[in-house]
Amino acid sequence: MKDKCRIGVYICNCGTNIARVVDCEQVCQEVGTLPGVAVARAYKYMCSNPGQEMIIHDIKEQMLDRVVVAACSPRMHEPTFRKALEASGLNPFMLEMANIREQCSWVHDDPQSATRKAIDLTHAAIRRVQLHEPLEKQEAPYTPTTLVLGGGIAGLTVAMELAEAGQQVILVEREDRLGGNVGRVDLTAPYLDSARDILTEKIVRAEASPRVEVLLNTRLTELKGFVGNFTATVEDDTGLAGDRAVGGVVVCTGYRPFDAGRIGSLGYGRLPDVITSFELEQQLRTGKLKTRDGKTPRYVSIVHCVGSRNARYHTYCSRVCCMTALKYGHEIKSAIPEAMITDVYVDMLSFGKGGEDLYRRTSELKTMFLMYEKEDYPKVRSAEPEDDCGMLLQVREKLSGVTIDVPADMIVLMVGMEARHDGDEVARVVGISQDAEGWFIESHPKLAPVSTPTDGVFIAGACQSPKDIPDTVAQARAASAMILAYIAQGKVEVDARFAEVDEDRCSGCRMCNELCPYTAIIYDDETGRSAVQSALCKACGTCVAACPSGAIKARHFTDEQIIEQIEGVLAWGSNQPS
């Protein structure tokens, strides 16, 4: 194989970027004499059209079967040259690049050592490319049915987006009703629209749609397979289970509220009129705002950051509570016009469209804003019988430096968002990870917030991190779009560079099974051998390096190829007298 190679070697000058320091002609001459090299040229700009034409022409005329380009970083132009090879009829993987710009001419001043280095790197590439094998793109079909886990606003949005695009959806909801946490809310900030209106429409449409199968009181207990070809096992409360074939999964399991009882000084559980935000929502929805003994509260205090932004509970901000608290200011004032409202906050995070206006409008309601230090929760106690209020909230007020007692008949605690207690179960079943706080981890926090490292499994909404309804809906629609992209292709491309287990060499030790971060390696009990599911394999090579039998081969990064590179870079040096 080695001897029969006909390699085309191209040294790029990159104008003066490379040629200024590296003597490209010398490189050309030295590598041109290596075995296997059919043609060696130096040219101004290999990536330009004439440059690529040169390669294509040589491939055809000189019957080259593999190409080395010594130029810029492969991260720059590997795709360019691969396309050139394809255009000439060669398999795109019969290419190797040597980085003699970013990692050579641009960082070294001495022409002699830079040229020496360029020669070594090109030599290594030439030796490596002789072991390259043509790799074909792998494809698998994509099942157009999608499993949506969670029937809250995120799940409903995904389901309807997909259904309206003509696709089948299985909506799995653990509880006995759709709507999730938004279903417990009365009005939404900042414009005070009805949550019920937003939700009811979605629920009605989901339930009516022939393409959405709603499974209440149901959980996902197992997910096998890979993107486009999952088998999901769902089980309901009666124990009835069934398998479904789905192409993708969108996890929309949401959050749970922080347990305010964990903070003793706030009095939750101890004093009957200290309630959580959700409990207030309940009252607001009935339209009656009363203390536990039926009186109309004259003083209402709202405490922010309960369980959030605190080293003892959760360090993160739960994002929605500040604006919700401001919303309460308006709702309470319209229910009880003579009420005096105190907003006990740490920082006012009232962001986005309408946020600042909401803050300003709430202060115009004569809301008293008190700032406290986030590690220093206020202390709530019952007032004396002669006081004109039910409770007193003592807070060390930061902006004035004075410790004050605020009268309160009702205290609302803005409890933060927490990851659900069954988060680890869900993560394990679908094959995604959780961060230190229990939120599901996305592929990239900025550039890929709804995908996960597990292809075909997406996350949307608060289960990824605390967020409000607009962001949840945006993420839900993003996840739907990504699924629709898969469905539109009808098939999934599997990375050609996956790892392969040689069955004859595999001893069944299963060391690789645990190592794979993508759980791409399965063990066949019958044969006693491990095998890589190529569609899931990301080609990191960890299992390859670990296999004690050397049974796993990494396509395009084989041991032999790498060893050729090692020998290539050291070839000149080892020939020198020591």
């Binding site: 990301k538 990191c540 090579g541 040096g573 080892s574």
Partner: protein
């Protein structure tokens, strides 16, 4: 002109190779002694590569990966770290100076750091002179089990 060591570097595609490219884009000059071999993940680096490098004439070997917690493939660099601990002891057992082998983390944005790393390693190896196989080795490419060698008791805990 003093002795110029040749150092073979295994750089992971996502973090350290990109970091090295960044040093280039920023024109951060450094010593020309490193020869880079790109792998997708530092977890791909088989310990035999390291041994092979030394046996083929490398004076030093550098393995670079993403910072712990940032591995593009989630956990590969942890595997590298584990292997490296054992590899280091093996190298010491063979009498290879530990300054010749190094594992470090370079992120995609750490061009400057990469450049300094190369300089530092080159400077550390220079006074040691060229790598020579100990008398226990018969043949540089024979990676089979060498008999009669047991790990020395003093193994540094890094």
């Amino acid at each position: 002109m003093g002795f110029e060591p040749t150092i073979v570097g295994f750089l992971c595609n996502w973090c350290s190779y990109t970091g090295a490219d960044l040093a280039g884009t920023a024109r951060i000059k450094h010593r020309p002694n490193l020869r880079v071999i790109r792998v997708m993940c530092s977890g791909r680096v088989d310990p035999t590569f390291v041994v092979k490098a030394f046996a083929s004439g490398a004076d030093g070997v550098l393995i670079c990966g993403c910072h712990p917690g940032d591995c593009h493939y989630l956990e590969g660099n942890y595997k590298t770290l584990r292997r490296f601990e054992l590899l280091k002891r093996l190298m010491l057992a063979y009498g290879i100076d530990e300054r010749r082998l190094r594992l470090d983390w370079v992120s995609a944005s750490e061009g400057e750091r990469f450049a300094r790393l190369v300089d530092e390693m080159t400077e550390k190896i220079q006074p040691l002179g060229p790598f020579e196989l100990g008398p226990a080795f018969q043949n540089g490419t024979d990676l089979g089990l060498v008999e009669g060698i047991t790990p020395t008791p003093e193994v540094s805990h890094g």
